[in-house]
């Protein structure tokens, strides 16, 4: 009789789990995914759930098309290398006369200048000429760098009444360290206002999440690529929201005479930043902020005054260059969306 009782119990569990959906999947009925190559990087956007289940696939597809158009729009404004972009037009004329700018340009100049000030120029939107000097993947002449440095610095940019002007013709804005995060913000806005309940956005490793997952607590799990072994994650962060940005020395670089020269430049030296970190990741509620701050901390360490940062609210994860140094993380202000790190 004992055997029968055990069987009956197992059967009850099996039927019960079937019936009440113990294993039921998330309401991921609407999964619609976009892959593209925009803004010089790979883009992946997945919509998992719409708030209105009627025609949700059609609605999600429509939003994906709008998201793609939005990305191309942002690219057409901020592409440094495209002579027809708004940025190029500004960079060639803002010295001789103030230039009126578009809404997105205005937003990003404002946020860019704010971040430049907050980080004392560790992040800086005025590095265009310097980045150009390094773009040929060889070390520029020291004299060329030195002659440029006096004209590098956000202090040379004035933005007033929707018009931007530069103090010198060699000043050029570059939004490489902030535009991807800004684009994540804009896509989030678009998807949320379009009725998306759950979505995941990845623009070249800058991540934005919307809503909840199917996990019990609804959180998202995002790995940080291990800078010391690129095929693995170093650590997994569990969040209920927010935007991730990572700056590291492994993503873009060239090697000359056995030395590695990465693409994150320090405005004080005019050279690739010498950092204690292999990578720095920021998680905050603002993608442009995360993007700019990860660059700033990678360059200058904790350039921050805790009072200022506590007002912003974010978490930071440091992965050190030294292999035997443990990963560290810090929280500033209100960053409830960081559920766990590790």
């Amino acid at each position: 009789m004992k055997l029968l009782q055990v069987f009956t119990l197992i059967i009850c569990i099996l039927f019960w789990s079937n019936g009440c959906g113990l294993f039921s999947k998330p309401p991921e009925d609407t999964t619609v995914t976009y892959h593209g190559f925009v803004m010089g990087t790979h883009v992946n956007v997945s919509i998992y759930q719409m708030s209105d289940s009627q025609d949700s696939v059609a609605a999600a597809n429509q939003l994906i098309r709008e998201a793609e158009m939005k990305l191309y729009e942002i690219e057409s404004i901020f592409d440094y290398d495209d002579p027809d972009s708004e940025l190029s037009r500004i960079n060639t004329t803002a010295y001789s006369e103030p230039v009126e700018v578009s809404e997105y340009m205005s937003e990003l100049i404002e946020e860019g200048l704010r971040m430049s000030r907050l980080t004392n120029g560790a992040f800086d939107i005025s590095l265009g000429s310097l980045i150009e000097l390094w773009q040929y993947e060889q070390i520029p002449a020291r004299s060329d760098i030195d002659s440029l440095l006096p004209y590098i610095g956000y202090e040379n940019i004035t933005f007033e009444g929707g018009r931007v002007s530069f103090s010198n013709e060699r000043v050029k804005m570059h939004f490489g360290g902030i535009a991807k995060g800004f684009a994540v913000d804009k896509l989030k806005e678009l998807l949320v206002s379009g009725g998306v309940n759950s979505a995941f956005i990845d623009i070249g490793g800058e991540i934005g999440v919307i809503g909840q997952t199917h996990r019990e607590n609804g959180t998202w799990r995002v790995g940080i690529r291990n800078p010391h072994n690129l095929s693995e994650n170093s650590v997994v962060i569990e969040v209920s929201g927010g935007t991730f940005a990572t700056s590291g020395d492994y993503e873009r670089f060239f090697i000359q005479d056995g030395e590695k020269y990465h693409h994150i430049l320090n405005r004080l030296t005019g050279e690739p930043a010498v950092s204690d970190y292999a990578s720095v990741t920021i998680i905050s509620g603002n993608g442009a902020f995360s993007d700019a701050l990860s660059t700033a901390i990678f360059i200058s360490g904790d350039v921050m005054n805790d009072d200022t940062w506590n007002k912003e609210g974010f978490c930071v994860v440091y992965i050190f260059k030294e292999l035997d140094k443990e990963i560290e993380s810090r929280h500033f202000g209100d960053c409830d969306f960081c559920v766990s790190i590790g």
Partner: protein
């Protein structure tokens, strides 16, 4: 047949039915016992979709004459590339959610794995 053995047989039959129904249920709601699938993109366009575990012998794909993607031991990676930085080659071989990226040649390899407990990777 004794009363006991009848009970045992009917228990086994019901158990089998219940198990079958559970498997069918899982299948219908989408938890398939499926395998990792590698997706190779160039310029955002999907070029190949490969079930990694179906590949028994090492195999390579020539991606538009700019790089060679290889699959071996259930993992995928870029074994040769025209790009100058060779970062993609140094990324090694993966079978999970960490993507292999070549920015200069605009190649992206992702492994979709329904068993993965990670939604994405920041880098």
């Amino acid at each position: 047949m004794t009363k006991k053995s009848k009970a045992v047989i009917s228990a086994i039959v019901i158990f089998a039915l219940a198990s079958a129904s559970l498997i069918a249920h899982l299948w219908i709601i989408g938890i398939r016992f499926d395998e990792p699938v590698a997706l190779i993109y160039r310029n955002g366009e999907l070029l190949y979709e490969i079930e990694l575990l179906q590949v028994s012998e090492p195999i390579s794909y020539n991606i538009e004459n700019v790089s060679k993607v290889e699959i071996r031991d259930g993992k995928i990676g870029i074994s040769q590339a025209n790009c100058r930085d060779q970062i993609c080659v140094n990324m090694g071989f993966v079978n999970g959610v960490v993507p292999i990226i070549c920015l200069p040649e605009r190649i992206e390899i992702r492994v979709r794995n329904n068993d993965s407990d990670i939604d994405g990777v920041t880098y």
